[in-house]
């Protein structure tokens, strides 16, 4: 307590604490202190122990990076296998531009978006809007809803299996492409289920649009990948909603991370003062920056659900994720129908020294990789900045604002509202701690 607080009142402070946050990936905690109806402190604490991925990559060959970094996160492994592959390809001076391989990479990523978004929206986040403890209670009261969700999630995993070889930690992706291109017949098996999934996604958007969304908005600095030809997923430049558009290679000139005592994950910060320090990555940012590239059906459904072309209420990320779920189904269908087996599954690669950068849109937002290689192709340094680390500052800012707006709620309800506000970000705490900044090479 500061001296000023001590002078203002003798009333005990109101403490809202969640020691172990549920329905998130990994181990996190919340701490809020309110005194005299004024918020004094807010902390989103990550206590998941660090795993030192960046240090343990050093000395290994470049081709190990996708397989090893995939283990940072069991929910969004493609963000790691693909980001690492792109970065390595840049370092090694090759570019995967065979249309068949480009198509397969995007199809694979659609699978990850589909399974991750459905897992988050239905199983982790929707219970908050319905006042249920979990999706098990939804299943008891509305069995059809959960069955539909599981059907969609299963299809996302099937895409990962057919293209990537496995749903969690795919084995078929590599620097330069794929180990083996899937047969046309296997990919075509996805077509009919994807048509069903488009219908299911439309139902999902309609269902979520009936929920009541807590009233909260902020004028966020949004940051997302952007690409002239498509709603950016696996490639593009890094753009914000205030006019800055940079190539992936310049990421570290504009974005940094700071180490704070209450968290084992570094906090992402915008170096440019006029944009930061807090900024937001993820579905709201993508939607705001790339809205025009959504399909006509996505735009129509978004409008029907009451979404504008920019959404600044973080609780509405639920519906925006549902729109992106629809997009990933439509896009996966288009790609599956167009698929022809490529002549070669991957590019030939000759090791050399170099530096490479890679950035893709993980379901939770941009995930940045950078590696330095020696002339044998061994990793000298690695740096990875996952989306949840970047969102930590804005999550704390949201919490602050949400508490201020909801001081009249009982402690139990306020606690739940805080949890819900954190879950807006679908925080992947495993990711946030598993990539930690490597500043100095002290071998």
């Amino acid at each position: 307590m500061t001296a000023v607080e001590a002078l203002t009142s003798n009333a005990p402070p109101r403490i809202i604490k969640v020691d172990a946050l549920a329905r998130v990936e990994g181990e996190g905690a919340l701490y809020v202190r309110v005194k005299d109806d004024v918020v004094r402190d807010v902390k989103f604490r990550i206590f998941e122990p660090p795993r030192f991925f960046e240090a343990l990559l050093r000395g290994r060959m470049f081709w190990d990076a996708p397989d090893i970094t995939s283990r940072i996160c069991g929910i969004c492994p493609i963000a790691y296998t693909m980001g690492a592959s792109h970065a390595m390809e840049m370092a090694l001076g090759v570019e995967v531009n065979d249309p068949g391989l480009v198509l397969l990479r995007r199809l694979l990523y659609c699978g990850e978006w589909l399974q991750s978004h459905v897992l988050h929206t239905y199983l982790l986040h929707a219970p908050d809007f319905l006042g249920y403890e979990d999706a098990i209670e939804i299943a008891k009261n509305h069995p059809g809803v959960v069955e539909k969700a599981l059907r969609m999630k299963k299809l996302g995993n099937e895409i990962l299996e057919i293209v990537g070889g496995r749903a969690v930690h795919p084995v078929n992706t590599k620097v330069g492409g794929f180990y083996k291109a899937p047969s046309k017949a296997k990919v075509r098996h996805l077509i009919e289920p994807l048509k069903q999934a488009i219908e299911d996604s439309i139902d999902t958007i309609r269902l979520f649009s009936t929920f009541t969304f807590p009233d909260y908005e902020d004028d966020y600095t949004f940051v997302a990948l952007s690409h002239p030809d498509e709603y950016a997923i696996e490639r593009g430049t890094i753009k914000n909603n205030r006019g800055l558009d940079i190539p992936v290679t310049q990421f570290e000139e504009h974005y940094d991370e700071e180490h704070v005592q209450h968290s084992n994950a570094l906090h992402g910060v915008y170096k440019d003062e006029k944009y930061g320090p807090a900024y937001m990555v993820g579905p709201l940012a993508r939607y705001a920056i790339n809205y025009q590239q959504l399909t006509p059906l996505c735009k129509q459904m978004a409008k029907e659900a009451g979404l504008g072309t920019v959404e600044r209420n973080p609780f509405k990320s639920l519906t925006v994720r549902a729109v992106e779920t629809l997009y990933s189904c439509q896009e996966a269908l288009r790609l599956a129908e167009a698929y022809e087996e490529p002549e070669r599954a991957s590019l030939e690669i000759v090791p050399r020294a170099g530096r490479g950068h890679g950035c893709t849109e993980a379901p939770r937002g941009i995930c940045y990789h950078r590696y330095d290689l020696d002339d044998e192709g061994r990793i000298l340094t690695a740096r990875i900045v996952p989306p949840t680390a970047q969102n930590q500052k804005i999550m704390e800012k949201d919490l602050w604002g949400v508490v201020e707006k909801n001081l009249k709620l009982t402690d139990e309800k306020l606690k739940w509202r805080c949890e819900q506000a954190i879950r807006n970000y679908d925080p992947c705490i495993s990711c946030a701690t598993h990539f930690l900044k490597l500043t100095i090479d002290r071998d």
Partner: protein, 260 residues
Amino acid sequence: MAARRKPKLAVWKFSSCDGCQLSLLDCEDELLAVIGAVEIAYFLEATRVEIKGPYDVSLVEGSITTPHDIERIKKIRKQSKLLITIGACATAGGIQAVKNFRDVKSMIDAVYARPDFIDTLGTSTAIRDHIPVEGELRGCPINKYQLLEALNALLNGRRANVSTYAECIECKRAGNVCVMVAGGKPCMGPVVQAGCGSLCPSHDRGCYGCFGPKEVPNTASLASRMAELGMGQKDIGLAFRSFNANAEAFRKEGDLHDRR
């Protein structure tokens, strides 16, 4: 007569990527049946509900990396009738166990701006290194069908049918052409436990060891074959120093190549 009480299931997490507990949610076709057969008493990734122990079955994901972890796993052991570890982190320390073979202080210094904020043991170790366990499921990640088999066995009071033989046997059954004999690609299959479904050889690449050592693996023989195929000592060592680096057989083989 009172209905039989549903067994209480708890899912716990230590240092890991969440992928193995996600495998339970990935059992899309069976999930509602599983939920119907057990009472989910603690599963933080899926529910806010926290029902106090004791628990009939505890599934434990992740490895032990902090002093607090050791205290926590001991408490969980006390509250659990049957405790099953799931995945390479819980059964062998996971990829983060690679730090066991390096100087941890220099790793923290290299990674964090403020090393004084970090509380970590020097090692990442398997759950079994700290408490007794009733069973373990291998894999990085586990195979969800093995998880269902294990739960089914536990609920019905029988032994789980999980093979401990080599990946090669599973691969032959799948009808794959051997990637090492015919393709000349290094493959961990001969020393790795079956269970993944021969995924890598089915995709024209050598196995990289997600399921850890099979029973009585001949790692020396595989290492010499890898050398004949042109791998250097350093890379042979690194092949054993991956997702199951701290499993005894792989750790010992890795040590031999570190010294060469």
